[in-house]
Structure formats: structure tokens, C-alpha cells
Symmetry: D3
Subunit: 282 residues, 6 copies
Amino acid sequence: MEYLTRIVAFALEEDTALGDITSELTVPAERRVRGTLLAKGDGVISGLSVVREVFRQLDETVHLEPLLHDGDRVTRGDRIGTITGNARSVLKGERVALNFLQRLSGVATATARYVEAVAGTNARIIDTRKTTPGVRLLEKAAVRHGGGHNHRFGLGDGILIKDNHLAAIGGPDRIAAAVRAARHGAPHTLRVEVEVTSLDELEQALAVRPDTILLDNMSPDEMREAVRRTASRALLEASGGITLETVRDVAQTGVNLISVGALTHSSRALDISLELDMSGES
Amino acid sequence: MEYLTRIVAFALEEDTALGDITSELTVPAERRVRGTLLAKGDGVISGLSVVREVFRQLDETVHLEPLLHDGDRVTRGDRIGTITGNARSVLKGERVALNFLQRLSGVATATARYVEAVAGTNARIIDTRKTTPGVRLLEKAAVRHGGGHNHRFGLGDGILIKDNHLAAIGGPDRIAAAVRAARHGAPHTLRVEVEVTSLDELEQALAVRPDTILLDNMSPDEMREAVRRTASRALLEASGGITLETVRDVAQTGVNLISVGALTHSSRALDISLELDMSGES
Amino acid sequence: MEYLTRIVAFALEEDTALGDITSELTVPAERRVRGTLLAKGDGVISGLSVVREVFRQLDETVHLEPLLHDGDRVTRGDRIGTITGNARSVLKGERVALNFLQRLSGVATATARYVEAVAGTNARIIDTRKTTPGVRLLEKAAVRHGGGHNHRFGLGDGILIKDNHLAAIGGPDRIAAAVRAARHGAPHTLRVEVEVTSLDELEQALAVRPDTILLDNMSPDEMREAVRRTASRALLEASGGITLETVRDVAQTGVNLISVGALTHSSRALDISLELDMSGES
Amino acid sequence: MEYLTRIVAFALEEDTALGDITSELTVPAERRVRGTLLAKGDGVISGLSVVREVFRQLDETVHLEPLLHDGDRVTRGDRIGTITGNARSVLKGERVALNFLQRLSGVATATARYVEAVAGTNARIIDTRKTTPGVRLLEKAAVRHGGGHNHRFGLGDGILIKDNHLAAIGGPDRIAAAVRAARHGAPHTLRVEVEVTSLDELEQALAVRPDTILLDNMSPDEMREAVRRTASRALLEASGGITLETVRDVAQTGVNLISVGALTHSSRALDISLELDMSGES
Amino acid sequence: MEYLTRIVAFALEEDTALGDITSELTVPAERRVRGTLLAKGDGVISGLSVVREVFRQLDETVHLEPLLHDGDRVTRGDRIGTITGNARSVLKGERVALNFLQRLSGVATATARYVEAVAGTNARIIDTRKTTPGVRLLEKAAVRHGGGHNHRFGLGDGILIKDNHLAAIGGPDRIAAAVRAARHGAPHTLRVEVEVTSLDELEQALAVRPDTILLDNMSPDEMREAVRRTASRALLEASGGITLETVRDVAQTGVNLISVGALTHSSRALDISLELDMSGES
Amino acid sequence: MEYLTRIVAFALEEDTALGDITSELTVPAERRVRGTLLAKGDGVISGLSVVREVFRQLDETVHLEPLLHDGDRVTRGDRIGTITGNARSVLKGERVALNFLQRLSGVATATARYVEAVAGTNARIIDTRKTTPGVRLLEKAAVRHGGGHNHRFGLGDGILIKDNHLAAIGGPDRIAAAVRAARHGAPHTLRVEVEVTSLDELEQALAVRPDTILLDNMSPDEMREAVRRTASRALLEASGGITLETVRDVAQTGVNLISVGALTHSSRALDISLELDMSGES
């Protein structure tokens, strides 16, 4: 995957463009080490293929032996994999590899918590485009590793008419016109989704049959009413400030999709460390 | 700044490589809009120059008028700036611009809280290399906007001998040898820092006069003793799981530097939105 | 558009990496010229923004004054635009600019002929992924300039289960399983399309309700029967060796979409030249 | 070849930047397939090394076994090679690989037809700079595979004073001055060629001894007279609207070189398909 | 010129990827300065357009006012140009700009000395491919600024059969076969040159009529004899260890071209400095 | 090392973007050769890993067998390594490989001469930022191979307040203010250095305790006095026009560091050639 190559190269360049002077001055060039990736918290792993790519770019002879797969759960103390190879190469790639692994596992972990919270309902937890600049594809994979689904990957692979589109063309009563224009010009491969902020706007939208309707910042009661009125004529997506505390209530309204920006813009990194075995010879 | 060009181009490519089909189908090509960047939470702003670069790359005629500067504080409801220009261009860049601005302001906000917490002590709050892949330089600027200072930018512009370096060459009793080797080979422009995990190791380190000593995961009492024994012969950096709750206690031990990885790996985005004026003509 | 920048830079590099030695040796550095883009055949114009980008990259002071827009028809002898500026810059960019303009206008011209041929029917003429390597987005725009619509832009913004997917999982009787798997995992933003080669396979597909069904290499009679049996439960796309001679018969079967690979893989360039005014002074 | 790497990466990025969602959802990750590249028309093959590069970039374990070489002739039904490997990888690269192979084989096939048409004369069939943006070097190789020769690769590796150069410096009576200037400043490694449109201009050119003279849009009778007057003092290149129907007449006038833009700007793709074996297990 | 953009970006990245911390900490952000480019030795200037590009990339508001042109002579103390603008930007670009200007002016200066040394003879001083990696096109321009001419720009825009080609195919008696093969396959735009090391090999070469013959490491007497035997049937290039002391003797043998690798691989930088005016306000 | 990949790719592109037409036309595709890298002068080798990278990029089957290591001394006639592989690949990479190897060995050789000249003193020979654009990291490694040490790698990994910084803020009496500002804002990992041009300025600097003081263009007597007054409170760097003739006198003044720009901006290439064995079969 060319994308993976590029983001990893970018991250390595940030950290190692001028080499790793500490290792060059203190560790013999031929020394070999073996290290263990250890979970220091509970969560879901994502990013092992990125760890592999980091070392592939730095030194193809460094070997990652994963003991788990992306999507697997860990608890504090679990071993995730081992890394063996030239000491300078392992030390040079350690931070970049962990930066990816911790962040992506944090996203997968957060997603898994939301997915568990809606277990037994019909709602899918989905992500948004509120992702880390440059890391979107990896974060979207992490969402899948956590059991979630993806929304659009960018502005070109889905149609979503938002409040700001409507504002730009005159306001919410342009819903019908906008949906019709989108349907007419869109490739037959894409569905058409439109955002509404009230039940009135929902009615306007339903009249022109979009494939999906995004309910923005509605209360659970409003959502329930929206589900009733829509009567399966469109998919319904709930969005706007939904938290781990409120997500189950939202899911129980009967909406089909719940999008959560915080999965990618505000999740905490999962604590993971690389512990090198003590070694005394080269 | 070439770096800024690249990371912004990367982020735009993720979102807009296939164009913005929704806007192309629903918003007239010549329509113009005016929008306001609004704080929806309290914090410190960072990233306005990135917002400018996003629109410069998309459409040089879009105009950002900042009402604040990076480093300024906001409270919920404050206006941060206005954006005026072609509607399709503004809509196309909105998400990428906000993704940067929210994340970087989140980092600046978190930093400011730590800096406040140690007010009146001699300790500097500093960042680490636990940054978002590809976004390091911007996050390090955000730390400065929040009142913090920077640690190394990468593996080449500072010398820090860590536990894993020592493990690779035989363990903690190699401290003295490692510091001496680093001093001998290093450019005269760089300081030499070494990590210790006990007062014993501190003594070994002090014997060979590193410029800085990192105290890893010590208790405040140990740190206080370390400060006493060091007697200003080296700078002391506290590190390891320090939180907003514990940071003041750490600062009061007399250490010079407190590094906090969470500033960049786990801060929450500051909520900021772009509100377009309703417009009905082109 | 970053994409446009890159493909134009690539094309210029091919032609001008070592400079333009002929012009440097024979044309004074400050000489200015004025030239006219002339149609030397009948067709539809596409690519004027690419011509502008070519000269923007070479020399921002060269001025393109378009007399027509992309999508306009021309007949032999029509003036398309004028180019004014430094003689060496105009000569240096001439061939690359014309290579784009002729090829893209060729695609638009071919598309327009197919669109005219199905006038009055309900069928859309659509393109395929059989495009020129590196030039896809421009060719897809040319199809729109010719009055056609676009199919997928790549493998990520639409779902189309083809004969080779089915072969890979055991053959055509895996249609139902494949459609179900696609529906289950796909983002809610994308439609699901499946290829069938017989009326039997059509029935299998209909049973699992894909959004679109591609009828591969069917005769008009088979297509008509497919339209009857589908009864608007899915969109139908006709594909496979359809020519300007046969396309109207296909459209009259009632299919919704007709995809034509030759629009992009085998269209002839539209003949266009740049005629410089004779000039005798600098 | 770095160039090959880049154009293939560009083409893959167009098609696969967002992954191949259809295969990911419908084909098991470990499934393997075997496919055959089949000619579906008559012609000359070019581009097998590009096919290899496509799969090398996607997945180094996919194996291309060519049964023919670039430059070999095929007739409908001939097997060109086999491709074996992971099913998802083969499906992901199929279209990009075929897009290159079909286009380049189309160029080689067209060239071969022109070369056959002039068999037994002294004329070389040569290409022009009217190539596909980004694909020039591959198309120029395809011309050689078809038995043709190459003209310049770009504006820096040959000197050709054209009508527009002359227009820029005052018109056709500047031929002598331009040729002299070119000869004076040119590296000794490059030949000097000049375009003429009449026998009068030919005489002016001959007086200053260019290495090659391009006869633009002359009739066969004029060309014959040009050959007589030149008397081998320069090479003569015929150019301008030469077709498969007229090329033999042109060749028989005695010119040395016949350049045909249509070889690269308007040749039809050679129809080639990849047929996967049906497979039922992973 | 895309090439110029790239090499300047590369050089700036080396020096400024992490910013310019000294200026940021010591010079106010809005301070403006004016500086003068001063020659501190005698020579020929080359590289002013590179200086302009350096500042264009760093800060478009910095203004270079050249007082001389590339190719102009300077003596110690001459003012070459002035640079005005933001102080931090000028300080940030100073070193990279001077590195280019000093090196290229060094090449131009060395070339001018060789050109003067052969004044009045028929010999051209030409360069080789022994250039600085990444800087070839600029160095070849510097050679022209110094009054020299260029040999090939790379392996693709000229044909030169060297001793190692002959070694690879069996040794010097393969000269005739190699020249014939080159002539047969080469584009008609390129001349064919062959290296010989003795008068015997010269005779073998002359028999097959190459356009140019390179005389490798011959004594002036041998060269004179080579000129006599060649009798203008080919151009003759002298090469191999020619110095400023010996070049006039070589030129007087009657050879047409004298190539000097040291122009680019071993010339001394011309000493040039940037002197800022003292300034006390912003 | 990503950097090495890029500069080598850049250099190869300059030389081989259009292929190697001479070898393609004269050397059979499958011919193999063996060549020897021979020193034709005395010096220190640097750049063998670059030679390896050149051939890795061109053709992974070409094998470099080094007989020496970077940093080893050679005398005229010594064998440095052997290169074995496909003849066309070896010929294609020969010039680029030698261009790197000769230049870098020239830098190492020059450095070694300066290091020898100060043998027995306490002074380190260090380089500057006056390096070849694009080749800095390799030249800095060459300085180490020659026994020297490195100064800053760029403007971001060290703090050096120079005359032009002081000019920009009002002149030399701003030394104290500038040093204090630098100390206050700098990361704790970097040392602070300041340039002085007189003993008066030295006193001003000493008052604010910079880590290092650069003595610009002082006479040996002044330097000796500076050493006396500094009394080890700071490192002292001598700089400005120091030559092989004067360097020992400078070192004997007691300064710690002697920086020599000529190491990288004006050193002569070490003469090295690749001699192919004569070979007669493929």
C-alpha cells in the first residue's frame, strides 16, 4: 500500500532525518537486540502492519514477530509481539513505531467501547472525517478493528449535503432542490445523504427520497419520532456530541447509524512499550 | 515553510483527491460565502497559519481574516476569525482546516493547563517525541503557544541516552561509559542527557558530568533527594506518567524540566466550528 | 487541484527537463508572441484549464484568453483561444498543452457522439476505468464535457462485483453470497453493483437486491428481457463491445446505463494547432 | 528504471488510493488465483515489463510468467502470459496492468502496420512528441517494439527549428540565420534539423547545411523534387497528415524518415483480457 | 524551471527543515534588513537566478536586486546585488543562497580561465558529466556563463562509445562494430562519438565515419598527427588530465573540442559574502 | 537511510532519465562484466555506501565487493573494490557512482590533511554549513571519515549567533541581549554559541556565559589572549580563512575548535577510476 509507505516515510523523516546520534555514539554498530511489545493498559490492538513497515523502511533485517492480530483485545501486561535485529535500527524505529501503534490502538479501543455500548441494538457505530491529518486511512482501519464501520473516506466517495451547503445556497428550505441536483448528477455508484436539524426538515427531505438522512443534534425523543416518520424509507444517521454515556439511548431510538467524531479526534493513546532484553555482547 | 506545505498537501489529498462531489452538484460555481470560526469550548488557539495554508493551496482567493493570534485564549462563543470566498472552495477546505485547528488548539490548551499548574515554581513544562506522525513540528509549535518549551525535535538534534540504550549495551552500569562516549563524539553544539531510574544510577551519572539527567518514574521524595545530591551540577528532567493532578508536586521538588507525553499523544481536540452566513445569491 | 499540478508537472518534465535548446539558440530571450488555438476538425473542446496550468507552471506571465469553454462544440477553423507572452515560454509549452487539449477534446468528442446516438432514450452514457494511466481524472471530466456521466473513479469509491471476483470465489453461483457480503461490510455511502452474464445469473442477483446489475455482453433481446424481469428493482448497466453503430439499439432496450470503454482507451485526438502570428521585433 | 516506478505508482494511486473495497468484502484474504493474459485481437505486444512493475508495487509475491516478449506478434486467442498469486492483489492490479498493456500494444501494433507498409524502401517510420502525457518513454519503447525508430525524447535532446520558431523571429526567410545560430551554440553531440514548407525554403536551408530537413505537408511530387535537389547533403523527414494509405507513396519518394503523430495520439488499444481460473478453495 | 525548484527545495530542506532557531530567538519577527552581496575575490558570476529562487521559496517578499548578470566579471570588492526584506527570512536563506552562488561562480570562473587560455585558437572548452550530484544543470549553465560549451547532459542525449563500452564487448578492435551499431539504432537527432587511445584506433574509427572522435590522454604530438590524419572528416575532442598549464598547447594541435572535468569536479568556490546593514529598528 | 535514497535518485535521474542509449545500442543486453575501482591518487576513501546505493537503485543484481572501508587511506594504484554484474547496468551507474566517490573522498582527504596538521594539539577540526547543496549529510560523514568532527547540520540543531544576527538587531553591543534571549528560549538540549570579532566583544560575551564563542578572523596572538581571558569558561572556535599552512599555528593558541569551510566548498576530487576487465562473451 503506497499510502502506508508515504505516511511512514513522513513520520520517519520527522524523527530520523539527521540520523540517531545517541545510538551512533553509544551502541556498537553490529550489536543485536530482542525486544517485546508490551501492553500497559487494556484495549484493542491496531497498527501492527504499520510497525512492520517502519522497520522495513529502516532496516529490512529487523524482524517483527506479532503474537496478536489487529483487532485483538489486550489487557495490561499482555505481550503483543517481539522485535529482533540490529540494536541501532531497533532503537531508531522504536518511537515512530510506538507512536503509530499507541494512537491507532487508542482509536480501536475507543471504538470498541462504543460498539459494546450499543450491543443488541441495530445501530452501527461509524466514524467521521474528523481524523488526524495524514493518518486518515489508518485510523479508519482502526475503527474497523474496533468493530465499527466507516463513513466516507473523503469528499469524493460519498455525497453528504450538510448545513453549510444549504447555508451557501439559501438555507434549509433548499433541501429538496439540493437532493434532486445531487441525485441527477451523481455517479450511479454513490448514495445521497442529507443533513436535517428538525422534524420539519426531515419531512422536506423525505419528500425527495434521499438514501440516507443525517439527524443533527436531535434529542432521543426527536430521533425516535424521526424513525417513526421515516418508516424505513431512508437510512437514519445520528450525529452531534454523542458520548459513551449517551450512545446507548441514541441507539435505542432505532437509528441505523451513529457517527462519533471523538473516535478519531480525541481518543487517548493506548499505553504500549518496547522492552529490550538486557544484552552484553555484540 | 516547506514542511507546512507538505503536511497540508497530504491532508488535502486525503480529503479532496477525487474532488468534492457534493458541492459540485449542489452549490453554484460562482457562489461566494462568508463564515466565522467559532470557539465552542475554552482553551488556547494554535494553528491559524495552517488554516491559511489550507486555503492558499485550494484557492488563493479565499481570504482568512484572523481576529486572534496563535497563543491567545478563547472562551466558548468567541470568534476566532472569518473566512470569505468562493463557496465551493470554502466548503472543500472546511474539514481539513478544522481538523488541524482543533487538534493543535487542543495541544496548546492542554499545555497551558500544565503550565498554569506549575506557576511560581522553576520548572519548565516540556514535550516529548510522542507526537502525531507527520504533525510533529506543528504540535511542538502548539506546545510553545500554550506556554511550554520543546524537547528534541528528532533523534538528530539532541542526545538522550535512555534505558533501552543502556539495555542494548549491557544494562544500567554502563551509564558512565555511555555518557563519556557521547561527549567524545558529539558535535560541540549538543548537550548530553542520560536517563536514570534510581539514586544510585544518579550518582553514577553525576560522576561523569552529563549536562542533563532524566529522572524516570521517581517519587517526589526521590526527586527531591536527587535535586539535593545534584546540587545544580546538571539540569534535572522529571518524566513518567505525570498528570495534571501530580505535576505541581513534581515541580515543587526543584526539578528543572517536566516532560509530559500526553500533551501530544492524548489531548482532546478543542471544539471549533465554521458557521457560514446564509446566502441567497451568487 | 493538486492532481492537475502533478500530471502537468509530469508531462512538462518529460518534454522540458533539459530545457528547450532550439528556442534558446534561435529565439531572443525577450521576444514576445501571440498565437491562436485553432480547431482543425469538428468536435467538443475539453482541457482548457489544463492548457492554463501548463503555462502557469512554465511562466506565469503567459496569458491564455479562452474564446470558448470546456464542453463547447467547434467546427474546423474555429478559434478556441489566444495565447500571448514570451516567445520561448510559449514555444516550450506548446506541445504539452496541445497534447492534453487534443486528447481530452478527442474524448469529449467521442462521448458527444454516443450521447447524441441515444438521444430521446432514458440511457446514460457512462465511462469505465479503461483510462489513460495518469490522466483519469481529466478524461472523466472530458466525458462530462461531452455530455456523459462517470462510473467509479477508482476501486475505492464504488462496489462492482465482476466475473473475476466470482471466479476467485468459486464461480457465478456465488453471486448471492458476494452481494450479501458486500452489502454487510460496505460503508452506507456506496451502492452495490454486480455483473451477470445470463438471465439465470440475473435472477440470482435480483434475489439479493443489489442496487445495480451489469449485463455483460448480452444481446439486445436478452437485455430487453432483463429489463422486463428486473422491473425497476435495480438499475441496469449494459457493457461489452458497444459501438456507435449498436448503442442506440442497446439504449432502446430500456437499460439505464451504457458503459463504453472506447471513450477513453481508443478515441482519436481532435486536431488542434497553435498558429503564431509572424513577429519581427522583440 | 525510476521513470517506470513513477508512472506506475501514479496510475496505481489513481485506481487504488482508497483500496479495493469490492475485493476486500467479497474475496477471502488468503485466496490464491491463476489467470491468463489473452489476446482478443491481432497485433504486437508491448508493455510486459510494465505489467511486472504494477504487480511488484502492489504485492511482490504475485508472479508474472510471460509467454511472449515485447515486440512479438499475437493473433486473437494467443496466450501472452500467466499471473499467479494472492487473489486480492491480482484483482487490484488487473485494470491498471491491462490499461498499460492494451495501450502500449496498440501503439506497437499501429507502428508495425506502418513499418510493413514501407517495407523495401529506405524510409524509417519515426514517432513524434505527440504522445500521451506521462507515458512518453513507454510509448517510444512501444514504437521500437513495432519496428519504428524514435525522434526526439523532449525539447532538450535534439534541435528542430519549426515554423513557429521562424514565425517568432520574423518568418520563413529567417531559416538561414536560425540554422547558423543553432549550429554555433549547440553541443557537438546534437544534429540540427529545420522545417521547410516549400522548395524555395528547402534551397535556403540547404545553403547553410543543416543535418536534417523536415518537409512539412508536401505532396509526393514535391518531396521527390526535394530529394533530387538535396542530393544526400541532408537527411529528409516527411511529416504532416501521413496515413497508412499514403505512407508507401511517401516512402517511395526517397525521403529518409517519415514521422507519424497518430502512432501515439490516436492509436486504438489492442484488446487484451485477464481470465482467472475458477477456484473454489483458499 | 521545475528542476531549479527541486534542487533549491532540497538544499533548503537540508538547512532549514527544523527552522532557524537562532534567528527566531534573537531577531524580532517583523525586523527588516538590507544586505549587499559582495565579491571577495576575482571571477565570473553565475547563480543569481538560484539566489532569487532560494528567497522566493522562503519568503516571496524578500527582494533581490541584481547589480550584475550571470556571466559578468567581478573583482574583489564589487557589489553583485542587494537583498532587502524580513530579517529572519534573509538570515534563513543566506547560507543556502551563498552556497549556490559561490560554487557556481567558482565553476564559471574556472571555465573563463580555460577559455582565455585558448583564445585565438579554434578549440572550444567543454565540460563533462563529472559534475556535482544534483547540481548538473546549474553547473552546465555556469560553464556557459564562463564562455565554455556543454558536452552531453546525460546518458540519453548523446552517444559516446568509451573504453569501458569497448572493454565490455571485447576490446578496442570492436570500434568499427560499435560505431556501426550506434549509427544504425540511434535517433537521427544525435551524433555518434567514439573514444580512441591511439592513432591505430583512430584509423579504425575513421573507417566507419563517426561524427566525433575523442582522443584520450594523447600527447600534443599524437593529437597533431590525429588532426592531420582526420582531415576534417570528424570533429576531434581532446580529453584527459588537461590543466590550465597545458590547455593552450592542446588547443594549438588543431583539435576542435577540449573537455575538462576539473571545471566541475574540483573548482574552488568564489568567495562572496552577504553584508547586512546595521539596523536598530523594526 | 531515506536521505541517501533521495540524493542518489536525484543524481541518477540527472544522468539516466532518458536511459543510456550508447550502451543499449552497443552492448548486448545479457553481457556481464567485472570492474575494479582504482585509486589514481593518495587520500582517504569516503562514499562506498553511496556507490552501493547507486547500483541498488539501478539493478539489484550488480554486486559491489568493497576491499576497503570508508575512512581507510589509499595510495595511487590501490584497489578499492570490485563491481560485478550486467554490463549495461554497470556502465549506466559508473559515472554517478564515481562522481559521489571522488567528491566525498576528496572531502575526507582534505580533512585528514588538516587533522594531521594539528596532531598533538587539543584542537578539533570541524566543518561548516558551506557544503554542496543536496550533499550535506554525505559530506559531513566524509569529514568524520577524514578524522574531523561536525558543526551544526542545519539551522535547527544548534544555536550560533553570528555577525549578521547582531547587525539585524543593532550591532555588536547587542551580544549580551542576544545570548540571554537564546538561552531563555532554547530547548535544553542545545548549546548556545556566539560570534565575536574582538577581545572587547569577547568580554561582553563572557559576561553572559555562552557555551561556545566563535573567534572570527582573529590573529593567532588575539586568539591566544582570548584563550587566556576565557579561562575555560566557554569553548572557543577559531574561524575565518584558515588554511593548511596556518592551521597548526591556530591550534597552538589553545582554541578548542577550528572550523574550515574549504573542507567542503573547495576540496579537489580524489581521482578514482573504474577499470573493466576485457570480456568477449555474454
